[in-house]
Amino acid sequence: MVDIKGLTIKLALDGLRKKDFSATELTKAYLSVIDQHNEDLNAYVLVTHEYALNQAKIADENIAKNQMRGLEGIPIAVKDLFCTKGVRTTACSNVLRDYVPQYESTVTECMFSQGGVMLGKVNMDEFAMGSTNLTSCFGGVNGPWKNQDGEFVIPGGSSGGSVAAVAANMALGALGSDTGGSIRMPSSFTGLVGFKPSYGRCSRYGMISFASSLDQAGVITKTVEDSALLLQSIMSFDPKDATMPRRKIPNLMEAFTDSSVKNMKIAIPKEYRVEGLPDEILNIWEDSIKFLRDAGAVVEEVSLPNTESGLSVYYIIAPAEASSNLARYDGVRYGVRVNEGGSLDEMYSATRASGFGDEVKRRIMIGTFLLSSDQYDACFLQAQRVRSLIIKDFQDVFANYDAVITPTCLSDAFTKNKKFTPLEIYMNDVFTIPASLAGLPCISIPARLSKGGLPLGMQVICNNYEEVKTLKIAKFLEDNFSFNAVAKGFGNV
């Protein structure tokens, strides 16, 4: 059996190249942890044993011929909103509970073409709406981190299954999606690296839509270098997505050729020093500043004056786009159908009432209201104007600075029993939303454990299309923090 403890994508690629183990052995090792522990963790909502072993077999053939591709034989978990041809894809919603796509998302197609092996589809908040993973129609994810009282804490969301799978050694990396923080926030909660590239770097074709102007695919891994390897495999230029930039796709590994941050200019936005930010989070922020200064970077305080409006802008634009995107679930062409005997309207209303969960309904309702003729100008257009201001704030800073550095979250992870109002849950995303509104590349890296023994993350945000610079600064912070804690239990036993 392959020893998967401490394994990374980079080490696994080396091991496969040197024939220390085969792709089939590696895949079987991960499937075995999944079979043993997934019932308790609930990270995977579908395990694709046969699919994975077939892909691993092809990988072994390529390795034997010395024709290794970028991600050859690497076992990956796929968030259940990437359509996978012939493999059930649900967005963790009852409305799509038995949906089998007849086409492949560009992101998974790219990953497969680089030799990646899909272990299965992983849990998420329904339609990626949430930051707890508790809105999934398959139930929440339990762990893998525990607090001091020995209770499981939630992995965050919406990519909760993605982070849980990687943190519990049930995959070497995972594909996720980030609309307002759904990769970075759960990565911060689980001690992982979560990287959302610039809007448009990865095709949205075949990625089940939530809010089209914000949705972006990204990756979750154990190290910054792994995030570069995995992200490289899913970036593409795809004519099927009309909102992709005509930019050259960078070689992300260039980020690691030179580790110096000397003379780089780093911005610390004062508006992120919000009231009530715990000392332990201020401390990792101060330490990051110290590491950078000691290495010769120039770190200065800046202002992003419209930061406070970010959350409100997001909770207008995202539900508005969602209410429009989710109009397609009418019970006719796919998904559940309820009330066959009634009128067409009654069938629509009953189907949508039964198929969508409470949070998805709430956001559809918010969006429907905000797009109504009475509210459109005052709310929706005003939000899009303020979004322009938020983008300009970042542009002004990036005219003089290489990166913005902030904590990823306001707190460490909490248990699923902690009660919040919907608005309090929305507040979780306050540090991750502004970069999403501006479509910027941003990454969360693990820094330290909190007093409660749970991971805390730092966020690096760079200007559009500067993924290489984002990775370089993230790698610098990763090296300096040297975070090496792992969740106890499950695959780490």
Partner: protein
């Protein structure tokens, strides 16, 4: 934005084609009002002369030729429908 009422929620639910019972209507009335109160701060932001965002990437949207490249998959497409007959999706009768 004035406070939205139970009648407003009922109207929104009808527009969104989501059937809600009275309990849910009251629940959404409370949570939507809390959220709308929060997002109201945007009204105070001075946006005179600021254009709304309509495309997040600066490049112009891409055009492509409208060619079929994945045709001939009728059975796969119909497979996901709960009710189809003679290669059509079946819905309740709409014309009396």
């Amino acid at each position: 934005m004035s406070r939205i009422s139970v009648e407003d929620i009922t109207k929104i639910a009808r527009l969104a084609r989501i059937k809600l019972d009275d309990e849910k209507i009251r629940e959404y009335e409370a949570s939507l009002n809390e959220i709308f109160q929060k997002i109201e701060i945007l009204q105070k932001v001075d946006t005179k002369g600021v254009l709304p965002v309509h495309n997040i990437i600066s490049d112009a949207m891409l055009m492509r030729q409208d060619v079929v490249d994945d045709g001939d998959i009728k059975d796969e497409i119909l497979m996901n429908s709960k009710n189809c007959k003679y290669d059509y999706f079946v819905v309740p009768k709409v014309v009396e």
